[in-house]
Symmetry: C2
Subunit: 421 residues, 2 copies
């Protein structure tokens, strides 16, 4: 071993970047972990912040606190603006640089509007804590406005919630909003019956939860309809504006519109002039390096891997973690002068919560649904939270929702009653 | 009883307004409770949100949820713009009105800058949940910036925290920031020693906690100094700008400045052309009515009552609650055609937390300090939280801070690493 340790720079402290950092523990490396946020976010539960179930601090951790015992890790709260691959340096937006020997890009995705960027202002998406508190405000203000509205048509528009895209996030949002309207909010209002709120889930494809087996999709759809969600399939949304959406040639007036339909990768591919798919995802080699850059890895949502089962590797936390683990192992092997075979994705299963006591789990051969799936879903998510305090806090909150249907985080913040919209 | 119930309109759902509403339960009245926020806020613990100890949802409750079982109470999420006392109607900013037979104004205060409104942008105050998350961002970003700063003078300015005003809020903020720097954050950073951060508490008056007995003030000051707070007394701040403050003719470079020095009442006095003191507080009659308006009460922080012990009634939660209870009783007495004597304030005591295991309590004859006072302070605050869930959540969080010095809510939100300042 030389006196100068190998410098690994990891951009992005999501599931992939964090796992790479964890798995490099004990290696002769010096790690710089860069994120433009100060916290790691447990994105699978972000929709619960948006629907007033969990507090922001229940699903987020200060990155440097997670790394406090790792003296070889330096956490940088900074925004990356590019990569100079020739000089092997990450460029920051304040003009400074961070040199690397090995670079790992785990920069994730944002929502994308299929060429209709102007829709974003009318149908916000859900990727960050701010997105979640913004959505929470939208949803809660809609009920408040409806309570004060006297015109029946305008009141109906206030009480119509459209979710565009029926993947796991769309399904979970639709189910939770429907349950809020039916179980949490009735009794709190005097002029409106929140149970009459319409929750409409619109999907361009032929079924909800396209990543799951057919029968689980059918079950999820039936369950959603049972708890009061209107499911519209096979109809892309062709227009989104301040009054509602158009789908199948029909206008639907809705004051709350949520985008859960498409994502676009972070500009990692542009930074490196790397091959990318239509969504901007880097087409990495089978060892997860960026073609032409053997010292640069890209992992997680920001890449596309055609491997698994004919289908691409899904953009879920376990997949990102597997890639992080593989890259850490490959870096360690290289430092020892050894080689490693290509990355192989192993699909553990797909989970989605539909309602308070309803979920679907697709383990491949084993498929679960209903209450038993919901309990496994809940226990699995609590297990994957970091730290005992977060586990206790989330368990306590869910217990409260389960037993009493009360959602404590029903706070309208960032603005008083004078909210625009 | 007539067929038409007596209409009571209560503006403001703080401690005073909420207590009035609670105490009117069972009376032949129809209540409209108006607030421009959708939540009641437990302000005594707001500084703990600002210092990353508690989550926003730990100390706030949706108002209409608190009133869900009270069918005679209508909750209005709206901003009041004035009062038409002649026509007996509250005017809302959307042009609509709410008629009343009896009006209760419990509209609170905002921070005030003694004629230097331009200081607000440089030294934010702490009254709302947004104020608290803004302050939290300021404080956490200061440490992040210091970690990346290479110039020693600029780094020192990033690590200097000035709190202006040494009342309970100022003392509690200073003590908690000092404990964060000394116990929570060390080990998380690589380039700075957070224990070298300076926390400077500047007070124009001769002692800290002026509302407490002299010996408790002295004890509080000694305790603050022991945990690393620099206390500056008898020096008004004469200048606040983007680089720091000036006090006693000396400039102190500090990138974080917090205002805990003065308040200004809401415009209730202006709405009614009522007599007011310099801070805009309504000078109410001894039955808490606004002079010239026998059907309009004003209570809580928005009024000044010269009664107690030569000193004015303090602007604390128990005082507001006593006034709310008195007004509810007076309204009920009037409805029965009875009279009630003037309002008498009974001071239960003053509490302030200094540090993790330090507090002072002034019960008048009994004075407590140190660990025993801290335990009573903690238990009292948990007791006064509404609802078992909030009590459990706060107790769990405090237990974690007590045992492990970890603060879970260390989240920088509303902006990425590109924060201005």
């Amino acid at each position: 071993m030389t006196a100068k340790p190998h410098r690994v720079v990891i951009v992005g402290a999501g599931f992939g970047g964090l796992e790479t950092t964890y798995r490099l523990a004990g290696s002769p490396v010096e790690i710089t972990l860069i994120d433009r946020r100060n916290h790691h976010l447990f994105q699978p539960l972000l929709y619960q912040v948006a629907t007033a179930s969990l507090a922001t601090s229940d699903i987020a951790w200060p990155i440097r606190h997670l790394m406090r015992a790792r003296r070889e890790v330096t956490t940088l709260f900074a925004t990356v603006s590019g990569v100079d691959a020739e000089r092997r340096a990450v460029l920051l937006d304040d003009g400074s640089e961070v040199p690397y020997d090995t670079l790992v890009l785990a920069t994730g995705v944002r929502h994308a509007y299929f060429g209709h960027d102007e829709w974003e202002q009318f149908a916000p998406g859900l990727k960050t804590l701010e997105d979640a508190t913004t959505l929470r405000r939208h949803i809660l203000v809609a009920f408040e406005r409806a309570e004060r509205e006297t015109d029946p048509a305008r009141r109906a528009a206030r009480l119509t919630f459209v979710i565009i895209g029926a993947g796991p996030t769309g399904v979970e949002l639709a189910g939770t909003i429907a349950e809020m309207a039916h179980h949490t909010l009735p009794g709190d209002f005097r002029n409106i019956d929140t149970r009459k709120a319409r929750v409409v889930l619109i999907e361009a494809g032929p079924r909800v939860l396209a990543g799951f087996a057919d029968d689980l999709s059918a079950y999820a759809q039936a369950s959603l309809e049972k708890i009061g969600v209107e499911v519209v399939l096979g109809q892309p949304v062709t227009e989104v504006d301040r009054d509602g959406v158009v789908h199948g040639g029909q206008r639907l007036n809705a004051k709350t519109r949520i985008w859960a339909a498409g994502v676009r990768a972070s500009p990692a591919a542009e930074w490196l002039n790397a091959p990318a798919d239509r969504a901007g995802r880097v087409e990495v080699a089978d060892d997860l390096t960026v073609p032409g850059h053997p010292d640069v890895f890209a992992i997680g949502d920001t890449v596309t891997i055609p491997a698994w089962d004919g289908k691409p590797v899904p953009g879920i936390a376990p997949a990102a973690k597997q890639q992080g683990r593989y890259v850490a192992n490959l870096i360690k092997a290289r430092l020892r002068g050894e080689k490693l075979g290509p990355f192989r994705y192993k699909h553990a299963g797909s989970l989605a919560q539909i309602g308070k006591r309803l979920a679907v789990i697709d383990f491949g051969r084993v498929k679960l649904r209903g209450a038993i799936a919901w309990w496994i879903w809940g226990i699995a998510h609590i297990y994957f939270l970091i730290g005992l305090r977060h586990r206790l806090a989330v368990a306590l909150t869910w217990l409260w929702i389960y037993v009493r249907d009360q959602r404590a985080a029903r706070l309208i913040t960032q603005g008083s009653s004078k909210v625009v919209g």
